[in-house]
């Protein structure tokens, strides 16, 4: 009986090597390595998701410094809970769920403190729909880039006024471009609920952004 001495002697050697290569660079593999104390693996995970998570939390909270802080807290929790991580679903789903919970928790804290953003909308005391402080100027503008910037600021402020249960699915879908299935897993709800909330959120935004559409 011949003894195989090298992996190349097997017919599927190239495919196997490719699988191994992909496996060692997957999120799961990196988290597995983090669990064993590999700091470089965790650094790679951070580099993959830091911008996405920071941006997502920023869109949720409309506060950049707070978003950076919460993004860091997200990674701290991932690091601390590396031993308890289960590979039942994608790592991106897992980390986005942590970020969502932190962002919603922050929004609720703000609500309790009754913090009002000076750059946001003023809420009328009679319960009417909030009106934008600076309505768009109808005159033609010279700088289209300025118009785009103003439009983006307006939509960011409008998103900030959405109820949190509508805000998260809208951002995940329309800003991050995630599938309904993944959003449902992140928010731990059904796909139908996600679709319904996104539709409602867009309806709210259409009303608030009427002047820009």
């Amino acid at each position: 009986m011949n003894t195989l001495t090298t992996i190349e002697e097997l017919g599927f050697a190239p495919a196997l090597q490719q699988d191994v290569l992909e496996d060692t660079t997957s999120d799961h593999a990196l988290l597995e390595a983090t669990r064993t104390g590999d700091q470089d693996a965790f650094a790679e995970l951070v580099s993959r998701y830091r911008n996405q998570i920071t941006s997502y939390i920023y869109r949720m909270t409309n506060d950049y410094d707070g978003a950076v802080d919460l993004a860091q807290e997200t990674f701290v929790r991932v690091y601390r809970a590396a031993d308890r991580y289960q590979r039942s679903y994608a790592f991106s789903t897992y980390i986005y769920r942590i970020a969502t919970n932190l962002a919603i928790s922050e929004l609720r804290k703000r609500k309790r403190r009754k913090l009002v953003s000076l750059t946001g909308f003023f809420q009328p005391s009679d319960g009417a729909e909030p009106q934008e402080l600076n309505p768009p100027d109808g005159r033609p503008l010279q700088d289209l880039e300025l118009v785009d910037t103003e439009r983006r600021n307006a939509v960011q402020r409008a998103i900030g006024t959405l109820p949190e249960k509508y805000r998260a699915p809208l951002i995940l879908r329309d800003v991050d471009g995630r599938s309904y299935d993944e959003i449902a897993r992140i928010l731990e709800t059904s796909e139908g609920t996600v679709k319904s909330r996104i539709s409602r959120a867009r309806g709210f935004l259409r009303e608030k952004m009427r002047a820009y559409l």
């Binding site: 830091r50 869109r59 701290v76 329309d174 800003v175 952004m209």
Partner: protein, 244 residues
């Protein structure tokens, strides 16, 4: 007029991603229904604006701050247990201090204080033969002679008063021997006294003190030697009689 068909069409428009191809029924409906066409245009415009928000980058020092935060977290885990350990150490330190204080108080309580006994030097005499100190009458202060120094105690301690009533054993003993130093008067032959040993005694001087409660203490003074001196071989103008 908005119909049930419009609801279905708008739902399909809502669920599809931007740029995805609509079904034939949606395309057909949009061609016919102006309201749905307006809805589609506004919805597309809105989603374009929302999608243009894009990704906000994390700050450049994100990794550094995160690393520092993780290091701080691990320190906090240690410091979480530190208060308990610190409390234990504090209790142990208190016990040590209390025990030391108790021992000091006990030793001070059992020891005659300096104000109760004052030693005075009255005279200095030549060494005398060993003498046993006997018990003294209760109305007379004890008088001890130690190596030519008379020590008189002024006042008595609590222990001594108790001992004076029922003396069980001597409070102090002397146990020493001494020999007079060899007297050299300069009349012996010169060759026989080239060098002289000047020891005050051949044995060490020992004093044992007993407080009457079985606490004895022995003080031992080693033999004192002054070395030796050599006589001058010939007289000179400073020492005409061959002194040393």
């Amino acid at each position: 007029m908005r119909t049930k068909n419009c609801e279905v069409i708008r739902q399909e428009i809502d669920e599809l991603m931007l740029g995805e191809t609509y079904s034939a029924s949606v395309t057909e409906h949009l061609r016919e229904c102006a309201a749905c066409r307006e809805f589609h245009e506004k919805q597309t415009r809105l989603r374009q604006i929302v999608g243009s928000l894009g990704t906000v980058s994390a700050p450049a020092d994100f990794d550094f701050r995160l690393r520092a935060r993780l290091a701080n977290e691990s320190n906090n885990v240690v410091s979480f247990y530190w208060p308990t350990a610190r409390r234990g150490l504090a209790v142990a330190a208190m016990l040590v201090v209390f025990a030391t204080g108790a021992m000091l108080v006990r030793s001070v309580w059992n020891r005659p204080t300096a104000s109760n006994s004052v030693a005075t030097s009255e005279q200095t005499t030549a060494p005398e033969p060993p003498k046993q100190i006997e018990s003294h009458p209760a109305n007379e202060a004890p008088k001890e002679v130690v190596a030519g120094i008379t020590v008189r105690r002024v006042g008595t301690t609590k222990n001594e008063r108790a001992a004076s009533v029922t003396p069980k054993r001597p409070l102090a003993t002397q146990d020493f021997s001494s020999e007079r130093a060899q007297v050299i008067n300069g009349q012996a032959p010169v060759d026989a006294f080239e060098a002289f040993r000047l020891d005050t005694s051949l044995q060490s001087f020992k004093v044992q003190l007993d407080d009457g409660r079985g606490n004895a203490r022995t003080i031992s003074v080693p033999t004192v030697s002054f070395g030796s001196q050599r006589m001058l071989q010939t007289a000179n103008q400073y020492a005409p009689k061959r002194v040393w």
